[in-house]
Symmetry: C2
Subunit: 426 residues, 2 copies
């Protein structure tokens, strides 16, 4: 038997880790639009922003406006990175005014070299003020994630001893941290290591919630997520389009190319395909990822945004959005005898079109199928095998009408039906 | 304890599955160049070409010339796809003349709908001639891979029952097939399913070599590979740059975007990082992937071609190729006291540069380091912490000389060394 958690708790990190390395400033209202959409489609943990000094990371100069702008259902946990006491001061003020977060992330690296490069502090310098941040946040009623960066290796220091991760976890828990994040900051983790590290950490700290935070720098984001799932890890971080990485500031950028987080939309599809509940609808997650692409103005690194979900395992009724996304539609293939031998000849085209559509999508009740634009080019027999292909042509969203090009061919290539189908959504 | 195979047998599929969907014709001599390079760097199983009819897939119209052109050490197995008896006739002729292959792949789909769409044949029509191909190939002394496509699901037919895969495996083995490939033709597999299917198949057919052949359509190539490794699978297929997919012919193309095979260079890095022997050197695999990129004229889908390997786990001495690839170099960080308190002041710059280089790479014996182009901008003390960054500027390959920009800074940002280092390789 293979065991995985029945359900996971995903933290969507696009608005913070995802945007941290983004050169262009994403307008505040667009950040808010994506965050609100995340809430609408069911994300329950959302990393909303960072309280890094606005001079250091301009992307987060609007952190307060972002927090003011988002909707806040009671069951959604918003999270912010708090790098120091000044950041905490600003956040607590926001909390007092009713637009704070419920959880903060405190940051350390497992490697002192990385800590020096990233925060310009030694352990000795970084830990006492951080302890203070954790304690004050806890006193203010906030939960605290103790983040341990470079937990799986560091490009500056090399291997990170497990003892260091244990020591820092111990320390965080003593300060009052409510969960521990092991961060693969520079994409050095491999699945074997992930299993070993999470396995040993959970043995050592039973009952502590560990968060898996991987970067896809070497393409292993999903494989490492799988390894963490196998160790029973419930908390997973990811970012739309696999965005993210080290800050694009004067700090060292360790790797070119793919430095981002594990890709949210690909991860959700993998989990849902494996029967692990994410609480999310694949189609809606993909749509939101496409919104993020539009906002960033370029194709991001997700796979399922290109391929679409696996239709026969994600049965969503056909909807206007299928046309908006413009996914390629697989052909429908069946023998005419499937339609029933007694279908009157004049009804055959309509039966063929409906059968073909139903082979591809569950059709919503009351869908109108208008064949006025379809020509019948030849006769068919009971034993004829038809390959019917549709191509989405366009959508009149307001009127709920969509247009499909249709070509239905016999096995020998002869055309049976050709033209344009109009669908009228109920 | 987590178990994986100690070593794997990778089949590099770039020259066949990789190129099958490529619109541009890759010149014969370039195919040969990559195939020869694969042999040189240690691939022992190589899918060299397809004997599909040249009219159907023009990319393989040069299959005989390719086979004539490649070097053939005795320990390398070359593999060709044989779709039908005519293809086999052509191959056997080539074998007689000394430029054949040692192994062929026979193709079926687990889904009849896919078989119809792909080969325009039902099971009843496809299997007798295929049986003949398998038997004749075996009589000619060739090994035969029985490929079962869409083994993890089919966009046309939906789920594929395990019973069908068992039935086809049984059939293949009876015809004389020497191994069985389960192909995730359209990227529908997920890791849970991969473990279940390979687990049950190995239980049912002990001693049979199963080959895992995944497509990265939904980004799960490496996660599925990991799942197959956990089931003890030793044979893995992959393609440089994640190239590959359905033929770009009149056959249906099921998915846009990423339809290719699991990416060779990313897969090799994952395996080697996990301590699984591939028999390959990461750096050489990445270089060959970059050759394939150059030949295809575009950036392919590999990750480690962008990020580079994890240096501290793949200790390769610094070599001229590090400059050719232009990877970003992580900064070196250390305190001056590391150099030894007694270093004479005038020797300090040289010691700093060497120490910094050694922090990043193992240096080859006899490497010359010329500091004529480096300026000393300030004093340093024993306790000074230096961050030293190098940027590859260029390479004079013939002379074995490479140039690095260097900037060595103190923690406060003051510059200690700045300029150009010349390296002379032994």
């Amino acid at each position: 038997m293979i065991h995985f958690p029945e359900r996971v708790k995903i933290c969507e990190c696009w608005a913070r880790d995802g945007l941290q390395g983004e050169d262009q400033f994403i307008p505040t209202e667009k950040k808010i639009a994506i965050l609100n959409r995340m809430v609408e489609i069911g994300f329950k943990r959302i990393e909303a922003t960072s309280f890094a000094h606005p001079r250091l990371i301009r992307q987060f100069s609007d952190s307060l406006e972002v927090l003011k702008g988002i909707q806040r259902p009671p069951d959604v946990t918003f999270i912010a990175i708090i790098p120091n006491d000044k950041g905490l001061d600003r956040l607590l003020e926001a909390c007092d005014q009713g637009y704070g977060v419920q959880e903060i992330t405190a940051i350390l690296s497992a490697s002192e070299d990385h800590l020096l490069a990233n925060l310009e502090r030694t352990f000795e310098e970084a830990m006492p003020p951080l302890a203070d941040v954790v304690k004050r946040a806890r006193q203010a009623g906030l939960k605290v994630i103790g983040c341990i960066g470079t937990a799986f290796g560091c490009p500056l220091a090399g291997e990170v001893p497990l003892g260091k991760i244990i020591e820092l976890t111990d320390w965080y828990l003593k300060q009052g941290a409510t969960s521990i994040m092991l961060g693969d900051t520079t994409g050095e983790a491999n699945p074997k290591q992930v299993r070993e590290v999470f396995g040993k950490m959970q043995e050592r700290f039973p009952g502590v919630d560990f968060i898996a935070h991987f970067h896809d720098t070497r393409g292993m984001g999903l494989a490492n997520t799988l390894a963490a799932l196998q160790e029973g890890i419930v908390y997973h971080d990811s970012s739309f389009g696999g965005m993210g990485g080290q800050p694009a500031t004067r700090r060292p950028k360790y790797h070119k190319g793919f430095a981002g987080n594990t890709c949210t939309e690909d991860m959700v599809v993998m989990m849902e395909e494996m029967g692990i509940e994410t609480g999310l609808q694949i189609q809606e997650v993909i749509e939101t990822a496409l919104m993020a692409e539009e906002i960033c103005g370029r194709e991001l690194l997700g796979h399922v945004t290109r391929s679409g979900p696996i239709r026969h395992r994600s049965p969503q009724p056909l909807s206007p959005q299928d046309f908006r996304l413009g996914w390629e539609v697989p052909p429908a293939l069946f023998s005419v005898e499937n339609l029933g031998a007694r279908t009157p000849r004049q009804d055959l085209p309509g039966r063929v079109i409906r059968e073909a559509l139903e082979k591809i999508w569950p059709l919503p009740a009351g869908l109108g199928i208008d064949l006025d634009g379809v020509l019948v080019k030849s006769e068919i027999e009971e034993r004829t095998i038809l390959v019917t292909r549709f191509k989405p042509l366009g959508l009149e969203k307001e009127k709920g009408r969509a247009f499909l090009e249709v070509l239905s061919q016999k096995a020998n290539g002869d055309i049976y039906l050709q033209g344009q189908v109009k669908l009228v959504f109920p």
